[in-house]
Structures are given as C-alpha cells and as structure tokens.
Symmetry: C2
Subunit: 364 residues, 2 copies
C-alpha cells in the first residue's frame, strides 16, 4: 500500500493541462523511490456540473476528505455563467474549503528574479519581493448566515451577507502567521477595518493578544485600505500579512499581480493538526484561475501548479529537500530563459505547457 | 445675505493647515465677486473630542445639514487611538455621511502629467491615467445591523458585521456612475463578489438593469479581486468603476496610490437632488488622511484640499468655469516645477503649504 494518498482535481479550463504536468512529476518521484504516492482523480466546477449537475459530487468530497492532500487546478468559465447559484463552479471550491476545514490559506507573492521586469511596478520596487499573505479561509463573510436575498413588500429586494468571526478562528490563523514569520523575516502585519467593523475590532484584539506570545516577532497593525495602498507604494516593507477571508482575497490578488509572476504563484490551504495523528488536511492550488480564453491551446503556464505540488511536499509530507529541488528546477528553467506566453519577453524562447513541464522535469 | 453657505470642518492633523489655504481662495473669489459664499467652521474627530468628548457635536451636524456644501479636511491620529469606539475620530465622518445621505462618493484617480514619474508603476502605465471610482457611501457593511461583539458562554467572543443592500440603493448609485460615464469615455465597470456574496448577486442584477437604460454606455462586470489585480496590471483600461462601500474604500485607495498623486486627489460625496429645490447635499474632502506625522510643520500638500473645493464649485454650484480655472491653476504651478515634500523630486523646488497655496492663488 502506498504511504500517502493524493487526490487530484484538475477542474476546468487550463486546469487539466497543467495538472497533467504535475502527474508526470509525481510519476517520476514515485519511480525514483523519492515518494510513494497513490493518486486518484476527481471532478469539480463546470466539469462536475456537465457530468453530474452539481459543482462537486458527495463521493469526490469524501475522497478529498480521506486523502492526505488535495491538489486542485482551477474552476469556472463563461460556459457555466448561468448555472443555478448553488451549483456554480466556485461552489466546489467553497465546499471543499469548508469540509476540509482548511482555515489557513498561505499565498506567497514572490517576484522571481528572472521576471522582475515583467511587473507593472518599477523594477527596484519588486526585485527580491517575498511576501506571504496568510488569509483566513473558512469564516467571515464567505460563510456567515444570514446570506440571502429577500423580496420586500414594496417590490424591491434586500440582499444580506454576514461577516462573523469568533475568537478561536482569529486566534488560530494569527498563530499560523506568527509561526511562519519566525521562519522568515520575523514581521507580521495584520490588516482589518477596525475603524468601521466590529469584526475588525475583535480581529485586532485577538491578534494583539497572540502577538504577546511571540515577543521575537515584530507586529504591526494596518488598515486594509492602507494595506492596498502600501502594497502598491512599497511592497517590500511587508513580510507576513495576516487578514480575513474577504480582505485576503483582494489583497493577495493585488500582491500576486505586483510580482509580475501571477502564472507562477502557488498556494496552500491548511487545516488544524489532528490531535491524534498530528496530520493536517491540506489543499493546494495555483493562485491564477482557469483562464478559459487560453484553455486547450497547450500554452498555459504549468509553473504555479507545479509549485503548488512543491508546497504539498513541504507542508503535508515534510519533504523539504525534495520541495526545494522542485522549486530550484523552476528557477533553473526560468534562468535558462524559458518562458510561457503569459510571461513572454522579447528575445526569449516561448514554450508551451508540455515543453515547460518537461524542462522542469529535465532539471530534476 | 450671501447666496451660498459653506461649512468648513478642518478636523485633525494637517486638516487645519490645508483648510487655511482654501479659506484664502474663498476670500479671493468672494472679493472678486466671483462667488458670494458665507462660511462657518466646525470641529470633528479628535479636535471635537478634545473639546466636547464626542467625535462631532449635534450642533455641528445640524450646521452641516443646513449648509449648501461641507468642505472637510481629515480626521484621526494616534492621540485618539484609545478613545471609546463610538467617539473615535472616524465616527464623525461616518455620522456626517449618513446624516447628509451623501450616497455617491466620487473619487477621481488622475495622474497629473508632471507627476507620472512619481508613481510606483511604470510611467507608460499611468501617464494620462484618469479613472473615476464611484463608491456607494451610505450602505453596505459600514452601516448594516447587527454590528456587534457578543460574549459567548465559552468565554470567547463573536463579532458580527452585516452587509445589506436594497434595490434602490444600488439603482441610484449605478445611475450616478452611468450619468458620469456619459460625460467621460462612456465605459462603466461594476465590481462585486457575486461569486460568493448575495449582495453581489443583487448588485449585479440591479446594475445590469440600469445599464439597459444607457445603451450608449459600455458596461462590464468585474469581480472585486480581479479589479484589484487589473488596477495594478493595466489601470488605463478603466474609465468609471462603480462599487459598494467596502470594495470602494479599498479599490479607490489602491487606484489613488497608483497615480503617484495621492496628495493631490479630491473627492466629492453627493446626495440625491431634493425633489422641490433640485439641490443636493454635498461633502468634499481630500482622499489623503490627516497625516499626523507631518502635522503642524507647514509642509503638507494643500492641493487635494483645494481641488476638493474646485469639485464643490462644479458639483454644488454649477460654476464649471471657475472650477476649471482653479484646476488649471493647480496644473500650472506643477508645470512650473513647484512641489511639496510629498511629491518632491530631485532638482525641483520644494515649497511649504502656504507657499503652494499662495502660488495657486497667484495663478488665479
Ligand atoms: C473563486 C472564488 C470563490 C475565490 C475566492 O473568492 O475565494 C477566488 O477568488 C480565490 O481567491 O480563491
Ligand atoms: C476613515 C475611514 C472611516 C474611511 C472609510 O473607511 O470610509 C476612509 O478610509 C475613507 O475611505 O474615507
């Protein structure tokens, strides 16, 4: 029996193409005896809807929960714009996050040296950039109730979403951020809108009390709107930024785009360690989406997907060295001048998805 | 009796210094017979708290409601970090927005040609940038109830904020955006998170139905997280962006910072026209804050404050020509090479608040 199980969910759009490159890497690490992964595949998003008329089947949810790690591609596309709200592609993602209780979403925004010129920001502002956004992923306005649209007597409608946070939810995500800061530059920014939101007041209160347990880590509060500004003005002032589900969604996207490396950025979503086994549920996915416009053309950049697999090696299986090797292989092919179309520059060789995947495997 | 009344609220920090420059311009337009403004002054934020232990007095709220336009500086500063939540400086701003029902917050993000080099973005991405963010200002999560922190039986706390939007609130702000787009490049983006928020679903539904009344204006939906990305990647793709209170807060700050002209950007917050008189309540303030670190030093940039007064001339009093003159005077002194410290460049003359104000007045 294999030591570890991976549940692969390619999803929609470019998801299938980029997942295929990860599968090749898994086949290689298994064949070299570096890993002993058993893999299974599931459907999510439009792919699941087309087959089963739901965003994800109960069976696939159960498989995701049973696996040691879920490797996820991307979901969505214009084809499914009009499916019923509860079956829209994104529902699969939200369901999996909630069912796996992967509350800690780690979104690194790294500027690959070879790509510093590709950023919209001036080179000197992003060269060497390495921010880690720690986003709360299973609470806040994404899941709070009531969440509804009601008909009013006057013929109009009222829509309601509810942002809810309890102490323990803030406490545990703050600890993830401070723990990670210890392995990095030792600085945590916490972003909220405590000047207008009660959830921001509680967020700040709890994060500050967690900060007291980490006297060796520097702590700084920042308002979320100012965080958006400062990310644009001078992103290198940040190391780790912890924030709620909604602010994390927006700020991490802005941070990712700053790097010029959007097609390269992975993410990890982690649950709490099981008290008995110490294992934590985990979900890995690229930061970019399903890119329906280029799907099926063989031009998608597989790097973010492969880097997500590297995160799985590190965070789910403690294979730090192998993870580092995969990351070094990625940096290596970029250093060699290989580019996919999304990061294309003049006088660089532009390659397709498979060629990029093969080059990374070649380096390994 | 004066034709129009202005209620000036300098507020805290640099608010007083920059408002003084506006007062000089008002004195001049009055003395030239170009305007007939009667002005009165009030306190808000820390300044009001220090004197009256509230963020704003009932008397000043009443005066703001009675005035034809409110000209507001900025509030807040570390001195008042620990005042009770309901009296914190920001409470004055939220109270005034709500009491005046100024639901339409217009936040232009313009890159002054003379400052294209000051942006964190590459010059070619921001040169000529002219975006107008139309932010809903009196609804959403800023004001929805319940908004509370409750003690739980287990000793923890639960914080709740509520995002609420009704059809009419979305309809009226959308119309403001489409009307303004007609006077500009004719393109409206509407940003929401309809993939996770029911208020986003209603927002999109209502904006789309308003769009049908404006067949001459191009309409484009965008997810708020993608909007943050696209603002960084290629801001010139936008003309008018309409969005809710919270997304508007964050996206408009990011957009303002992009321009490199943060100390230069004004804003206007407008109410609905009174059915009887056609007049609308209005509130003008710079986008930047109270900048406590440089307060009292005479170095603050008064341009955003003066440009906010120009917006008042245009939107509250229909004095388009005079507004244009004030704006031209600002562009003129910048063209002459005058800079305050915040926009300082090598080999430019750096001047203080009063000198900059005087130079603009000189151009008039
Ligand atoms: C697809 C969507 C539901 C999702 C989110 O809002 O969380 C995405 O934007 C993300 O950041 O993973
Ligand atoms: C000061 C604060 C309450 C305010 C807001 O969040 O609206 C500010 O950030 C703004 O954008 O005007």
């Amino acid at each position: 029996m294999a030591t570890h199980t991976l549940f692969l969910i390619p999803g929609d759009g470019i998801g299938t193409e980029i997942m295929a490159e990860v599968e090749k890497i898994i086949a290689w690490t298994n064949s070299e005896g570096l890993t002993d992964f058993a893999t299974d595949q599931g459907l999510a998003g439009g792919a699941a809807y087309d087959r089963h008329q739901v965003a994800i089947t109960e069976e696939d949810v159960a498989k995701a929960k049973a696996a040691d790690a879920v490797i996820f591609g991307a979901v969505g596309g214009p084809k499914w714009d009009d499916v019923p709200y509860e079956h829209r592609p994104e529902a699969a993602l939200l369901r999996l996050r909630k069912e796996l209780s992967v509350f800690a979403n780690l979104r690194p925004a790294i500027c690959y040296p070879a790509l510093a010129g590709a950023s919209a920001l001036k080179r000197e502002l992003v060269e060497g950039l390495d921010i880690l956004i720690v986003r709360e992923l299973t609470g806040g306005v994404y899941f709070g109730e009531p969440k509804e649209i009601v008909d009013l007597p006057n013929g109009q409608k009222r829509a309601v979403d509810t942002q809810v946070y309890e102490t323990y939810e803030i406490d545990r995500i703050a600890r993830v951020a401070f723990d990670l800061a210890r392995t990095r530059k030792g600085l945590v920014h916490s972003a909220d809108k405590k000047n207008v939101m009660k959830s921001g007041v509680l967020w700040d209160e709890v994060v500050r009390s967690v900060a007291k347990d980490y006297p060796d880590v520097q702590f700084q509060h920042i308002l979320a709107d100012n965080a958006a500004m400062q990310l644009v003005r001078n992103p290198k002032q940040f190391d780790v930024m912890v924030t709620d589900n909604l602010f994390g969604d927006i700020l991490s996207d802005a941070a990712a785009m700053l790097t010029g490396s959007l097609g390269m950025l992975p993410s990890a979503s982690l649950g709490a360690p099981d008290p008995a086994t110490g294992k934590r549920k985990a979900f890995y996915e690229p930061v970019h989406g399903s890119a329906p416009d280029i799907a099926g053309k063989g031009v998608a950049n597989p790097i973010a997907m492969i880097a997500s697999f590297a995160m799985a090696l590190r965070y789910s299986f403690g294979m730090t060295e192998l993870a580092g090797k995969v990351e070094a292989a990625i940096a290596g092919v970029l250093g060699d001048g290989l580019r996919t179309a999304d990061i294309g520059e003049d006088n660089r060789r532009t390659v397709g998805t498979q060629e990029m995947g093969a080059a990374i495997l070649g380096k390994l």
